[in-house]
Symmetry: C2
Subunit: 682 residues, 2 copies
Amino acid sequence: MSKLTDVPKRILIGRALRSDRLAETLLPKRIALPVFASDPLSSVAYAPGEVLLVLSIAGVSAYHFAPWIAVAVVVLMFTVVASYRQNVHAYPSGGGDYEVATTNLGPKAGLTVASALLVDYVLTVAVSISSGVENLGSAIPFIVENKVLCAVGIIVLLTLMNLRGVKESGKLFAIPTYVFVSSVFLLIAWGAFRGLVLGDSMKAPTSDLHIEPEHQGIAGFALVFLLLRTFSSGCAALTGVEAISNGVPAFRKPKSKNAATTLALMGVFAVSMFCGIIGLALATDVHMAENPAKDLLRDGVPVGADYVQNPVISQVAAAVFGDGTFFFVLLAAATALVLFLAANTAYNGFPVLGSILAQDRYLPRQLHTRGDRLAFSNGIVLLAGAAILLVWIYGADSTRLIQLYIVGVFVSFTLSQTGMVRHWNRHLATERDPATRRRMIRSRAINAFGAFFTGLVLVVVLITKFEHGAWVSLVGMVIFYAVMTAVRKHYDRVSEEIAAPEGPSDDTLRPSRVHSVVLVSKIHRPTLRALAYAKLMRSDTLEALSVNVDPAETKALRAEWERRGIDVPLKVLDSPYREITRPVIEYVKSLRKESPRDAVSVIIPEYVVGHWYEQLLHNQSALRLKGRLLFTPGIMVTSVPYQLQSSEVARKRARKQQEWNAPGSVRRGPAQERPKETDAQR
Amino acid sequence: MSKLTDVPKRILIGRALRSDRLAETLLPKRIALPVFASDPLSSVAYAPGEVLLVLSIAGVSAYHFAPWIAVAVVVLMFTVVASYRQNVHAYPSGGGDYEVATTNLGPKAGLTVASALLVDYVLTVAVSISSGVENLGSAIPFIVENKVLCAVGIIVLLTLMNLRGVKESGKLFAIPTYVFVSSVFLLIAWGAFRGLVLGDSMKAPTSDLHIEPEHQGIAGFALVFLLLRTFSSGCAALTGVEAISNGVPAFRKPKSKNAATTLALMGVFAVSMFCGIIGLALATDVHMAENPAKDLLRDGVPVGADYVQNPVISQVAAAVFGDGTFFFVLLAAATALVLFLAANTAYNGFPVLGSILAQDRYLPRQLHTRGDRLAFSNGIVLLAGAAILLVWIYGADSTRLIQLYIVGVFVSFTLSQTGMVRHWNRHLATERDPATRRRMIRSRAINAFGAFFTGLVLVVVLITKFEHGAWVSLVGMVIFYAVMTAVRKHYDRVSEEIAAPEGPSDDTLRPSRVHSVVLVSKIHRPTLRALAYAKLMRSDTLEALSVNVDPAETKALRAEWERRGIDVPLKVLDSPYREITRPVIEYVKSLRKESPRDAVSVIIPEYVVGHWYEQLLHNQSALRLKGRLLFTPGIMVTSVPYQLQSSEVARKRARKQQEWNAPGSVRRGPAQERPKETDAQR
């Protein structure tokens, strides 16, 4: 049946690519940076704008808090980067936050982190694509006019690419990421040069707009709350920082050291881009509002629902490079591309995390096998479906989606860092070497500060954003958590039920004799083959069984049986209602009743055909019978396939399908053992 | 997998009913009449209206042709009834037109008839439901205002009822049909009494409307064409007449005689109702137009798009009984109910015909088994889907749908009658008894006239209605014909390919030894059971096979294997990419390569669970592996099921599902042999 459902997929997705050996694909730092950092680096495309947006609630005068918010984000970024540098050294296996939390805080914490990360992957796709569409839209108005459609289209495209099994190449990531980073630095440098050296007055397209504050003269607690909310929004810049800690195995040796260096590099890049853009936005008088239609006034009149509020990065580029210039378009294109790459990282991360969770039996076991196309496909389709739903509901509005975004990230940051503190505590309990101890104490201090700070941010985010959408993320997390717990419970229950008993023998498991029954409808090659095979098996008794659906046919069958002198007795069951399944099941049960300690082997000749529509024309009775027989205890069901000529097609197709390249292979590093340290340490 | 797709069906359709013995349900004539005649009797609800509609194109003056059209329809009706009385005597097996055409004119003619009948069943549903909604709408305006919605709703309801397996009861048909027939006769009698005896002037609601002729002063060839088109529309009264000839086995003995009498009764009823309603319509000045919005004028102004043209039967009832009176509402309700029953007959006929076609291998074989729920369900869903599509496209407008209707009926009438002529010719060639010969010659004359007349009508229908929609039916017939031919070709090709060779032995079919391989992932009860069963089979070699996906697990497996002292050698395959399928397939192939004359038996322990979602959590690797193994020649695949506790649920559900009652059982008569006369005579 799986072949049937495969057909539409197959048509859309096409043939798979030849897999390269994973072991040859270790990443140098210059490639690892773009591969892992497209998500955090690309977030400078929306995070600075969010800061200005939220501040605008208190009017444009509140913009002077922006540098302070930036400073807070920078401090947080360095804290997180420093913390994860400890993770990378302590857990070089690439298990990431899930592994750290599970090992040190127990499975419930681990599962919480996993749920948070799964939600986060969905939001990474939704936010990055929406923001990418907005950036592209600043250069091509059509796109922003059909935002939802374009966003969904791009998600579908990415999904098809990933289902097809893109060979994830480092270069694919490197070029746009470096073009993006260079363009942003050029933007900052050129802006600084024009402003400070040439003394040009650069004006953003929105500089002449007036912001109508939603709350006039905010002060006291309300102001603090607003600043905290602004800070929460700015934290969007930190999403994806943990990616490197999942990808340590993909680095060249020394893996941990290289990963730590890359993390630091990424932190520096992200922070300088973030600050530079906020600085330029303030210098060029960018005006953004949370509800632009209402709160932005041009000559005292609200700009109205038609107004499109371009992202801050494109407004700054318009001011510095000039609207529509080469560099403006280049930056818009590079920004959009990097954002799409960031979304693509979720397509890799989601199934990889799923595979780890499957290994721990929180998800169906078949997700565990790497390169299992079906499993990856299911994960990818689930991810894309959820992302499309969010994009649809929130109208591909990155500002509204970001409200949901940061909860998951900080849940996993906080739990991971708390776990790291425990990790060092445990190691310090046994470690005696003073130098190592000193290093561990330093690491513990860093992680403790990280845990405290990210925990604080989590509380702030929850308080300030709960009603703006953070609850949606929490609901998503609870759903993932509940499903995974249920799956694990099911596996545990089954595993208990089927546990092999100790002791020498178990009577119910050891039948003494076996009766073989070959199902026969007509005498043809498949039947003859099944009979020949059945004879080879030398069971205690062997008979052929036919169901009398049509007396004329049955008579002909008996006659030919005799004529050919087939030396297996032929038994015919009556079936007044022309059924096949019921008489066979009843006969088999009667055999079992006669001699309950014996087993019955039912042998079914089966046609193997090449196309799903041929499958519809054959084997349907056999399939149904098999399905029913499986519920009857003390039975084994044997298919003796007969390959029709057309089956060759399907065999070739299946072989090709096997050579499919799972996404995420580059990010995850070459196939290798996941060290069992975790179990040993528990 | 079939369980998975079953779940939504199951939720909608619920549990099946207990089947009664078919043999106890032979029908007396008084029940057989309503069971088989609801379709032709109900057509008096729309056929008279169609006659007036088409005539109105030439203006209200053309209405005086209506009685002549009625006479022509009556003559045709008697011809067809007389012809089918011959069929019923000659073919008491209930094969119907398909059997008659196949036996006497060859398989291509038979297949044409079958295609025509299948299209016809779809149209029976579409037309009857649409007309029923219109009739009901004459009493309840809401219904006619939401025509498409109501029609689709009723189709869905009928579909669910039939999927659930209604026990088709004769009484279910008898009461509404007799209420309908009595009401119509009462209408005619009361109308005649009021008009002729009391001299009342009865006026239909539309009597004061003026008809604007589309073509003024039509004459000559145009008039003939219009009259022929009118006649074609009136022929809608004949649809379903052939039903009795399919249902002879359901009659009490003497079957053929009773069936013939019922046919005659039905003809008399249908004809008198048809003429009576046309007569009353003319007497009460019913005015109907093909495009009422444009061509009906009230006080010189077109009535406009909002105008609802009620069916002629309800207009007459309004005139005779008075609008909204008890008898008016009773007639409207009975009419609608009979029309819905007529639609329901298609739900029975479609899968029954499908089962006969499957027996002749024009459709998938599994449709052959009577009471095969899955097969019937597929047929029913196909029928309902096509009918809903038509209702949707044609806006549930019975007038537009009738344009498509009559082609299929007359194709099968004509071919069936032509076949009967051949039948008598063949019998006359050998028959020597003068009395019998005389009877045969008489029958042949009747059938020859029937063939000629229905053939003529078919030509007329095709010419006059082709561009009005008859082409749609033809396209549908061609599609059915093509699909069935392709299916038959496939079966023939396969049957040739697998035909058992004559002669003593065939080397490729007779392996000399068998290697058994038990797949093992862990040691638990299912594995132990599979090993125990495998040992019982005493194959030439036996080994356990495990795939090394996780070295730690493999090591543990080896250790336990040794500790338990399992006396089957354990072979472990390496799998650097954590795959399971590929290494196993390759190993099995290597076994086959070493000794090509031997067979390999792969034994797979399998969990049996109760719910589809549990199925998702288990056996997926095993399923995929099995799927691949089937394509490898020289292999047999054995499942050793291990029933988990939860499987009990599924076992019970499957057992209940088996006790399902196939629709169409009453109409088709008790299960019995289909006589093989057809083959013998060919």
